[in-house]
């Protein structure tokens, strides 16, 4: 970048001159800072992914981020469902048994 302005993380374009900022895009969709060797989100190596991206590529990355977020949300939901299953007490079980009285 020519103006040497220091932009905060997350900026795709320089806040001072508007130039496209070089970011390292991880496969997980995370936009790491230029020069980072590993992804700040998933820890994957960024060496193979490092390089400048165009605005179109940034847009594509943004879309990927949304897809990834949706996928992560689904995974979290499944995790919550499997790890926070409804727990019952012996009284609850008695009620269940009474409701579904077995026919011998």
């Amino acid at each position: 970048m020519s103006c040497n302005h220091i932009n905060p993380p997350g900026y795709h374009f320089c806040g001072k001159c508007g130039e496209t900022l070089e970011v390292a895009r991880c496969r997980c969709g995370f936009a790491a800072a230029a020069g980072d060797l590993f992804c700040g989100r998933c820890g994957a190596s960024l060496v193979a992914n490092t390089g400048g991206i165009s605005k179109a590529a940034a847009d594509t990355g943004q879309r990927l981020d949304l897809e990834l977020l949706a996928q992560q949300a689904a995974e979290e939901k499944q995790f919550i469902e499997t790890t926070h299953k409804a727990r019952v007490t012996q009284d609850d079980i008695r009620k269940l048994l009474a409701a579904r009285k077995r026919r011998f």
Binding site: K85, A86, R87, V88, Q90, D92, L96, L97, R102, F104
Partner: protein, 135 residues
């Protein structure tokens, strides 16, 4: 319990739990005819001894208690199987009840509560058997 000794199979991979259940059921006048430390052994002993009642754990090696329960109910749809486990997940409880378990007891209850539950399950079972014999 009834005058005739109720024949019981205990299936639990933990020996101290089996000993505790044995104490409880014998104090109720029942007879422990077999003990199994895993699911496969439980099934094999069930087929061999045909007990009146099965006290069945869920987390066991080789074959879990739910699979054992389903197989026992296939062999004998009127089998009296009481699940005795620490698992208190609603879906597991429902699956066992739907699969034919006569009762589902949590291991966190006292020996006195266990006595009461086992006795009342046996009485309900016998009453239902007698009722179905009349009709």
């Amino acid at each position: 319990m009834e005058k005739r000794k109720v024949r019981v199979l205990i299936a639990d991979d933990e020996m101290h739990i089996r000993s505790l259940i044995r104490l409880i059921v014998t104090s109720l006048g029942a007879e422990v005819v077999a003990e199994a430390a895993d699911g496969e052994q439980a099934l094999s002993l069930y087929a061999e001894r045909r007990p009146d009642m099965v006290m069945l754990d869920i987390n066991m090696p080789k074959l879990d208690g739910i699979a054992v329960l389903k197989r026992i109910i296939e062999i004998n749809p009127r089998a009296l199987v009481i699940m005795l486990t620490s698992l208190n997940a609603l879906d597991v409880v429902k699956e066992c009840i739907d699969s034919g378990a006569s009762n589902y007891l949590l291991k966190n209850m006292t020996a006195e509560e266990l006595n009461r539950e086992i006795t009342s399950t046996w009485k309900d079972y016998m009453a239902a058997i007698q009722e179905s014999a009349k009709s």
